[in-house]
Symmetry: C2
Subunit: 345 residues, 2 copies
DNA sequence: GTGAAAGCGCTAACAG
DNA sequence: CTGTTAGCGCTTTCAC
């Protein structure tokens, strides 16, 4: 904290010969007539002279509002390394800046016996929370989280991977539509044996993608073969095993792969490099993910881009609306995705 | 904020039939004998039953301590996209977690008329600041920042690019040593015409790198030719111009390049790809930077790796020490770097 | 228009 | 050991 001898409202009040209330009003409510113009001038001048800066902590306690939003990202890995999160965060920050809020990134499991994560959530430091679901969030996890937050009456907005029915502030993409679009795109290019490389079958996004793929495949009399759905558990060895299974057998070898996220795409690139597999010669690759991390991948991957930055912006927007206008009903927004043509298809 | 009907110390005190002070002590000072064991038990039980969670805001106001640290990153671009910052942040978070602090990422220039950045810095929301200097910080900027912070008596720790003499908490690398090591490495491999691709000559890191390079070159009777120092201003076009200048003229063409950071390295890769330049065949490349973003660059760049994560950890450590133990003298730490052999040299 | 006073919820010094 | 009291600095009734 700053030097504790900082000037307070009291100090200004004394110097100006007015009440502390007058100072508070003069400084904060520029509209109000409760203080006369001349008085206000004098107060403002003195505050300026003394270098007054309000103590936001005291203000927050009195107003019951901190203008601080918390960020929750259930992920083991350092969250800042993750490009998806980095983009969402940038979007969030951009909105917060516009609307005068700040972001509190808390450190889960702080000192033993104090400030555990859940305590922090409820500790009144934040006006609300932004939740970014990650690949470690199953549908059940998400559901439980929502129930807890509702019970604690904490305002929040969620990003990514919620397909439940609870009325919450949510921003995501329609993964079923993405799966469907992926199949449309690939079948139009003559692919019939399409594989799906995913992290885990328990993830909501996985389920939606599969659903969408099936929908589109069936429309064409094709099917998504169970053996062409591979779940790596986000382990490289497992990814390589799966890919070996697919490519070592000549029969029924897939001609195209949809990767469920950037990390799986990178695994695939590593595999292709190591095994001498050419893209798109030996295998066509389509990715669902962000575009940033791929700038320097060669060949450039064809990607169904999720608008992650925008998701962050919007989620923050919804959250702040629901904080500032208490009546506002929760909104669920599904953002459109975009196909960015690369050299892997 | 959370539901405002949350139980307070008063509520527990009433229910337990004790004073509010007793409750506070029972809950917070497990060591103290000021409250008897049985009473403590009773109080703890009741607090548990009522689902008591302390209001950190009120606590902070009374204790004059928030356990919140602020992050300042002077950079126009979205800071979370930057791998250097992502790594430093991860390090910072890791320390904060261990020591029970949280991180406040504020949004510069909030609502007009209120909460400008500087005000937030002094608004008592934070116990201290972590400053990450970036490529937009000249020596003068940094110096001014330090003066301001000192004047406002704000505790802080700085990361990166400070070579001044002020006694502050600082963690960085010795860029002169890096420049020197780069030259040693390249000359040992027979290179004599070594170029330096940098962002701007006004950056402290630039100056140190040049100093180190010169030192090592002169020891060998070589020199760093002024025309082989290129400053891109972090603009791609300018980078290409400079590289064209170097490579279009056959005479005095450099045989090796040291890039001052990851972004310049990427510019160089783009250039090499576009002009059909082979690394290391046509040009040897050595980079100063992080290793993460390069995982999927081909060929893999040889890199003098700065331990950015560790820098974040340590800076946070120093800052918290200086907050918690007021007498602690500021420390300046220069971390060692490491050479990671790639395929570009 | 203006000021006094009552909180916001907690900590800590002080008196028993 | 225990309770009372005085803040922390600000906002906001509520009388005048």
């Amino acid at each position: 904290m700053r030097n504790s001898s900082a000037p307070r409202l009291t100090d200004i009040a004394k110097r100006a010969g007015v009440s502390i209330a007058a100072v508070s009003i003069a400084l904060n409510k520029s509209e109000s007539n409760r203080v006369s113009a001349e008085r206000r001038q004098k107060i403002l001048r003195i505050a300026e002279e003394m270098g007054y800066v309000p103590n936001e902590l005291a203000r927050a306690l009195a107003e019951r509002r901190t203008r601080l939003l918390g960020l929750v990202v259930p992920l083991r890995d350092p969250i800042f390394f993750n490009q998806f999160i980095a983009q969402a965060l940038s979007g969030i920050q951009s909105t917060l800046m516009k609307r005068g809020y700040n972001l509190l990134v808390f450190s889960p499991s702080g000192k033993p016996g104090r400030a555990t994560r859940d305590q922090i959530l409820e500790s009144r430091f934040m006006d609300g929370l932004v939740f970014i679901n990650t690949r470690s969030c199953t549908a059940g996890d998400v559901k439980r989280t929502i129930e807890e937050l509702d019970r604690a009456q904490i305002k929040f907005a969620m990003i990514n991977s919620y397909y439940g029915r609870a009325p919450i502030n949510y921003v995501g993409v329609d993964d079923a539509a993405i799966g469907s679009a992926a199949v449309d795109y690939l079948t139009e290019r003559g692919h019939k044996r399409i594989a799906f490389l995913s992290g885990s079958a328990t993830l909501p996004a996985h389920q939606q993608l599969v659903k969408g793929m099936r929908r589109s495949l069936e429309k064409r009399g094709l099917e998504l073969k169970p053996e062409l759905i591979g779940c790596t558990g986000y382990e490289v060895e497992r990814a390589f095993q799966i890919l070996d299974d697919w490519f070592r057998t000549k029969r029924d070898r897939p001609t195209a792969i949809l990767t469920a996220d950037d990390q799986l795409l990178l695994n695939l690139y590593d595999y292709a490099e190591q095994r001498g597999l050419k893209m798109p010669g030996d295998i066509a690759v389509l990715n669902r993910g962000n575009s940033t991390p791929e700038h320097h991948l060669r060949p450039r991957p064809t990607t169904l881009v999720t608008p992650t930055l925008r998701m962050g912006e919007l989620a923050a927007e919804l959250l702040i609306d629901s904080i500032e206008k208490p009546g506002t009903p929760p909104q669920r927004v599904l953002l459109p995705f975009e196909l960015v043509q690369g050299a892997t298809t």
